[in-house]
Amino acid sequence: MVYFCQIMVSGIVVGSIYALAALGLVLIYKSSRVANFAHGQIIAAGAFITYFLTVDLGLPIFFSFLASMVITFFLAMSVERIFLRRLIGEPIISVIMVTIGLSSIIDGLIYLTPFGTENYSFPAFLPTTPLTVYGVSISWTQLLGVIITFILIGAFSWFFKKSTVGISMRAVSDDQFGSMSVGISVPRVFGLAWATAGLSAAAAGCIIGNITGLNFDTLHAFGIVVFPVVILGGLDSILGAVVAGIIMGLIQQFASGYLDGNWGLSGTGEVAPYIILVIILFFKPHGLFGVHEIERV
């Protein structure tokens, strides 16, 4: 039972990180119908910027966390401005390939720095003895990660529900021409969507980096593994991203907790999301909360 609860807890931890990482992907898809394959690289960039600010410049970690969110905010915005703005109205394959190309470019840039090849970890600023309740233990970094994730998700949902900018973003995702006619600048909203996605990616990167250590391969792998999450949740639903993130985290942890080592299996945690993805695509392709688009000739 303790084992079960332990897996449950780590599943929720992993899942909430997935939710935060998937949030950025959904934001971009929702507003501009672009699937961003460079998301993992932005996550990694955010984490490395935080590390650079904390360790090399000696800033307090919470300050550099916020600073890296601001930096990636503008970074992602400029990426949209430079590369994606020209491709509005181009076929979907061009747009997908541009994000893949971007991911390759950011890969190259990160490999130029020492971050590309070596492992780092944030300086410990929390007690290292894990918190144990009834035999189920959770480390302070994990707890902090989950708390920050939920604060951020709450902030994002407030932003989309109440603020004018958030409402205009939802309007654009609903109907671009309609929102143009009421005076919303659609390109500006696209830029903002990328910027907020960059911000959430940086936050996700820092939280992951704090829990697992900074390794470029692990960090940018998150950019691929969020695709099963967003498909399960429905590509254009923020609530879906959160729910699916947690479900996927639980599935992954239960798979690796109970299947690995039995019947000679190993690494099932890594492949489980993709198997789930294939099953979803066959039976419920628009996910839990996604909208089924009606097409006309």
């Binding site: 020209r86 491709l87 190309g101 890969d107 190259g108 993805l277 392709p285 000739v297």
Partner: protein, 364 residues
């Protein structure tokens, strides 16, 4: 008016049959024959050495794979981010023959054309299976289905002891009518084999696009609802496009297994899939000659970047590997620049040159 059979200044077709010909003018025929003879003859006069011949073989295999990708992505408009996995299916078909029958079983060494065709068919089967969601889905969802196929493939190869957990599985040397193909002739022999395969498959695609089934692919790409209304079955067409791409990839994979004389996991990763896509895009999606230009351009770029980083590496502190950084960077930059400034790829330059020379010197 007697028609000029060497240079045509316009289209003078009077029947469909005339339009369907492979070569429209005598000039086309002679240019094609010239290039074909050139491609077959040059290894007789220049000895590149095994190392360069290996690069050329690699390039030709990439051409076979990209032809398949171009069918599914360029002509049928379905994005496939798992093409390297299909290539891997072909290679691992050969590998599983080797595992079950032994590395130098007669089937592998003497009946290798059969093995290549079988690998293609197995690839086609997997392609059709992965394409099944196409009955209900399109665009991004399909792209992600192929992505998940890629990830599952990687996991299966790394996990199963039958596939040596991703470590190299050896493939025996093949025999030809002149006897066993030795170490020195190996790459040259396979160059000819792959060249024949490329020519056959190239004609295959060219003729396919002139038939009902080929036009069906393009109709579904342009508007699948409209194609549905015209009486085609978009779902089936998409599955069949994936199966075709799988066949090409399977053949490429089998050739890869034979040329490398071994099958290892690292040639079929997500990164390879992306670079196949890049080749197709740089070459020009939806064009046949794009499938030749793209691999040539990307492989050439790769080689140049490698030499550049070797030269630059001398002036840098030791232990810093410039190639790992420069390779993805230039690769990504080339994709992005092509998509932004020349989305129709190198094939478009070819088209421009051709239409310029067609009317030269009597332009408007």
């Amino acid at each position: 008016m007697a028609q000029n059979h060497w240079l045509s200044t316009g289209n003078f077709f009077t029947s469909y049959k005339q339009e369907q010909r492979n070569f429209l003018t005598h000039l086309d025929t002679s240019i094609f024959t010239f290039f074909l003879i050139l491609l077959f003859a040059w290894p007789l006069f220049f000895d590149l050495g095994n190392k360069m011949m290996f690069v050329v073989d690699n390039l030709m295999i990439a051409i076979v794979a990209v032809m398949g990708l171009n069918l599914v992505t360029g002509f049928a408009g379905l994005i496939s981010i798992g093409h390297a996995a299909f290539v891997g299916i072909g290679a691992y078909t050969v590998a599983s023959f080797c595992r079950t029958l032994g590395t130098s079983h007669e089937l592998i060494t003497h009946f290798w054309p059969l093995v290549i065709v079988i690998s293609g068919l197995v690839g086609a089967g997997f392609g059709a299976f992965v394409g099944l969601p196409a009955f209900r889905l399109k665009h991004l969802y399909l792209a992600i289905a192929t992505l998940s196929f890629q990830m599952i493939f990687q996991w299966v190869i790394n996990f199963m002891t039958f596939f040596n957990q991703g470590q190299t599985i050896f493939v025996g040397r093949v025999s030809w009518v002149t006897g066993r193909v030795g170490r020195n002739d190996h790459y040259e022999f396979w160059y000819y084999v792959i060249l024949v395969v490329v020519v056959l498959l190239g004609f295959g695609i060219r003729n396919l696009l002139k038939t009902k089934y080929g036009r069906c692919l393009i109709a579904v790409r342009d508007n699948d609802r409209a194609a549905d209304a015209m009486g085609m079955h978009p779902g089936l067409t998409k599955v069949y496009a994936f199966a075709l791409a799988g066949f090409f990839a399977g053949v490429a994979g089998a050739l890869h297994a034979y040329v490398y004389r071994g099958v290892g996991f690292e040639s079929f990763t997500l990164h390879e899939s992306v670079s196949y896509l890049a080749m197709a895009i740089v070459g020009g999606l939806g064009t046949l000659n794009g499938s030749f230009w793209g691999p040539v351009a990307i492989k050439f770029l790769d080689l140049q970047v490698e030499t550049l980083s070797e030269v630059a590496g001398q002036y840098l502190p030791a232990g810093m590997n410039l190639a790992t950084a420069l390779k993805p960077f230039t690769f990504g930059l080339v994709i992005v620049l092509f998509l932004m400034f020349e989305p129709r790829g190198i094939a478009n330059w070819w088209r421009i040159v051709k239409s310029y020379t067609k009317l030269w010197p009597f332009r408007y």
